[in-house]
Subunit: 315 residues, 2 copies
């Protein structure tokens, strides 16, 4: 469930373009006008605006935004406005070769929480933009256990069944395989990777439920034995993203705003990538978990146009 | 370059369907009539025939062929007639879970010799037909080194540059990496897999040429030290398929007809999958290598309608 609102009567694209042009011309910039348009149009409408803007004024809207805006507000605008596949290709490029642990999480998010068709569109867009393949960069930018997990996550084309019916015998045997490998601390065993990166999501949900029933606790408890291990943290996050993404994103948002200071990069990424998808569920989860609304926390952690933009996307 | 011929004036689809229907009705079957139609229509035309046949007669053409034909001729017809993506999905399904070494080669062929877009279509068709993903079956049906190589080969979406220009520094360094791992007999090292399964074909051609220039002999010579090792044989075949597929297919065809007896399954697969693509190059290579034409060898190794069908596809 999306959270941002599109007006009942959307003005013609040309009119949106004229208002954007006006908001960016001359001295000063009318940030509110820009937000009132771009934060209230869906992906298809934003793509039309960008295209028409180029045709009308011979300038790329994104270059114009870069000239006029700055800081976190600019980044939020540039991440939000493109088509989701283009946005993901840009995020993946930024993080595929970024050897900080955050990069691993961004790549994993893209591999686990987009539909199979969406993920393939990201790969197509990656070819078009960067003249190389997504897996080429991900496998170059990683090694060892991280590579073993991340490359199949971004190259998979999971089957998406129309219902939740599963092969219970297979579910049972694969829950046992996972438990066996985890008991032997073989956390990057090829069978764990195979199951997590090729099975359909309903099959995985059933397998992990079966794991819980057979062994008395959730798989992520068994993967928590070495809290500081980065690969294990990524593996736990993968399990969450595949089976209950709203919980993963709630936690990611919570941590981005926790304590003193804010991780704006993460906050921007999660809000912009989920506003059109499942932000309503994430916000409900946030309220349940923290006894405070997410917009309240965002208000406290951000300011000015950046705050206005994020709030527009979640309301 | 394709080898089969489509007449200058192709009759209307309905007329083809009527002739096929007539050839299969009553006592006996007119095999020549079936060949004269299906072996002389391109993929798009064959798909139209199948669709129109179902609409006109309420029967699937493939079921009808199965009732009327048999043996190698039937198999050749059933492998040839579908759309290439559907055919590949069927071949992949048949061989993904077939633990004989031939299965590994079929999966590798599909992963290495189809264009990126074609390979993705195979994966889409696989979803539609089998309600699971290609990589799901390939990874279930393999393990160890075979799995490490084959899963990324069937999930890759290689970048396809418009020209042969490459990053010479990268080419040089990756040739060194390959040589280093091979020298240490680490034939399934993750870096060998990464390079072969993610790099573009022009980059790979340049890298293997550089390997030859730097180290004085082709990579496949270094991979031949243990001739009987099945994984090494698959790795050598992968290198050939990625860089000079006509040589790989020539050898595969030659071996399928060598000595007493014929491997009809292989002969059928290579002829039907390459007739519409690069069979002309394969036949030229065959002539160069064996000093005899391929049709001559096929004539000697096959008979009856099966022979007529194969010869129609390569002439």
């Amino acid at each position: 469930m999306a959270t941002f609102s599109v007006p009942d009567h959307v003005p013609p694209v040309a009119e949106d373009c004229e208002k954007l042009r006006k908001a960016m011309q001359g001295w000063g910039t009318d940030e509110n006008a820009i937000i009132s348009i771009l934060a209230h149009r869906n992906a298809r409408q934003r793509c039309s605006i960008r295209q028409t803007y180029t045709e009308k004024y011979g300038e790329d809207l994104f270059n114009e935004l870069e000239k006029e805006l700055s800081g976190d507000f600019l980044r939020a605008m540039l991440v939000w406005t493109p088509h989701p596949a283009e946005r993901d290709a840009m995020l993946a490029k930024e993080f595929a070769t970024n050897k900080k642990s955050e990069g691993y999480f961004v790549i994993m998010e893209i591999g686990c929480t987009r539909t199979s068709q969406e993920l393939f569109q990201v790969r197509q867009d990656y070819h078009a933009r960067y003249k190389r393949s997504l897996e080429e960069d991900v496998s170059c930018g990683t090694s060892g256990d991280f590579r073993k997990l991340l490359v199949p996550l971004v190259t998979c084309y999971r089957y998406e069944p129309h219902d939740e019916s599963v092969d219970t015998e297979l579910v049972n045997s694969e829950a046992k395989i996972l438990h066996d490998k985890i008991s032997h601390k073989d956390y990057s065993h090829e069978e764990i990777i195979r199951i997590l990166t090729t099975r359909s999501k309903p099959h995985l949900r059933a397998t992990l439920q079966n794991y819980n029933d057979q062994f008395g606790h959730p798989i992520n408890k068994d993967l928590k034995k070495h809290r500081k291990d980065e690969y294990l943290a990524l593996l736990r996050a993968t399990v969450k993203c595949l089976t209950c993404p709203e919980k993963y994103f709630e936690k990611t948002l919570r941590l981005s705003m926790k304590g003193i200071g804010t991780n704006e990069e993460t906050l921007t990424r999660v809000v912009t990538t989920r506003a059109e998808v499942d932000m309503k569920h994430i916000m409900e989860q946030y309220q349940r978990k923290n006894n405070v609304s997410m917009d309240n926390d965002i208000k406290g952690d951000t300011s000015s146009d950046y705050r206005t933009m994020l709030l527009a996307l979640i309301n």
